[in-house]
Point group: C3
Chain length 206, copies 3
């Protein structure tokens, strides 16, 4: 029986893979290219985190991420034309993934004894770096650097994790608080189109 | 005296470096930029693999890869205008490199005790990731995501390696079978222009 | 009290972060995106070096790099319109950073027992790889592959380091010689617009 966290992990991985595969299909990639972009979106952030932390990436010990990406590809091949009508569902799934990946990244760093700023960086990398690599591979400027709040939700979740942890709250509750803060921040940001200020270029700043 | 595998390794590295340097020259890179792109094409895949496997990249213990890339640069500077007439030769060299790099990647992973899906991933990374970094550096969408079968040849070679290994065949024969399957797949794919299906975009899928 | 090297390190980090943040602002990134690009420019080279050397990246043990990038972002937000008049100051700061980062990269590799070609590679990566990642993230062809001598200054500094070290010169003097050679090469290259030859494309080479 998979645990609740494993189910969330599967949902998040699936949603991240779908986001990569959809963007790859818009660029007319072949099935293999779409699979690679989907996989990188799903596991890229966690892999960079694990390399930095000096531990073996999760997908090298459990094939579930490769299988999950394969199912995501199959889904897009079979039901691609309906995906556009499932926009809201995938937005919720993607936000679940963002929340869970952040919590996993922060928790792993803390359990390895890293200080809080590293934990917050690792949570944000886990949540958002896969999407950055995805955008580099499809030769676009990374979306998260310009659109509404995304990686900042990870930073906020990381800060909540740290404070809740400092207060001596029980581990499961800490994770729930942190994950919820990521999820809620992300949903509110999209609902109310909350963006960070654009950094003005030098010619405009006069 | 270099061994047969070392000669193949040199040929493959040279061919991979040439492919990077030629694309860099089309973008009007300077000699240094061309060297870097050539080097990354040749050693990028193996470096990512070794970082993931937690071992020291090969080029950090043997300068042959840096020297070989230097020779490739010299070759392009001196004989650049004849390269276009040597297209078939370089295609064969490149396919040899692809086959050898895949076999090395799969073999290294298995000898370190990783499961078969990791070994296949590592074989494919060794063969194809250098070309992906090359294309990112010259700011193009990676070729292997859209053109005829390339990285899929590595996957096929990895699967052959695994099965032959499971059957208890002797190590050298396993490597020959695996490498040949990569080489033949690649040559047939180009000869008959075998492509994977393009993933249809949402607007076209209606 | 910070040491002289720590002050140079701060100046270099600040200048590298500013260069990333300015390019991000030209692409209309938001504050978060600009911070990420600035951070990657400042710490990207050292991080790749440390992953290859198998040691923990410096920014994971000391938050100064994250803070320094934050100050650089604040600086651009507040004084962005004056930056263009400080062009020469930032060029000098950037060259100091390039020199120091090279020296640190070469020194770290030698102290870990790596051979000279690895040390020169690591010095160049420390100095120049951050700028390459920066350019990939803003979706431009890396500047250092085409404009006046930049990473070659790191290579020269690495060679000077190695020779001075071989001659048994005292460590501090070795570092001064190496750093000065990077700085002077870079300043002369810009002052006299010294470029490496462009690698001719195949169609032009006839």
């Amino acid at each position: 029986m998979p645990t609740f966290v494993q189910i969330l992990d599967f949902i998040g991985t699936f949603a991240f893979a779908i986001s990569g595969i959809r963007l790859a299909s818009a660029k007319r990639f072949d099935w293999f290219g779409a699979y690679v972009v989907g996989l990188v979106t799903a596991i890229g952030g966690g892999t960079i985190r694990d390399i930095l932390l000096g531990v073996t990436p999760g997908w090298m010990t459990d094939p579930i991420y490769l299988i999950c990406t394969g199912l995501a590809l199959l889904w897009v091949i079979l039901f691609g034309k309906h995906l556009i009508h499932m926009h809201n569902t995938f937005f919720i799934f993607d936000s679940i993934g963002l929340a869970l990946f952040t919590v996993v990244g922060v928790g792993k760093s803390i359990s390895l004894g890293y200080p809080f700023w590293v934990a917050i960086m690792m949570g944000s990398l886990t949540g958002a770096a896969g999407g950055v690599i995805r955008d580099v591979l499809i030769n676009e400027i990374p979306l998260i650097f310009r659109k509404e709040i995304y990686a900042m939700a990870c930073v906020i979740g990381g800060i909540f994790y740290w404070f809740a942890n400092l207060l001596g709250i029980e581990s499961v509750i800490v994770q729930l608080i942190s994950g919820s803060s990521v999820f809620i921040t992300r949903v509110l940001a999209v609902k109310y189109q909350i963006c960070l200020p654009i950094l003005k270029g030098e010619e405009e700043a006069e």
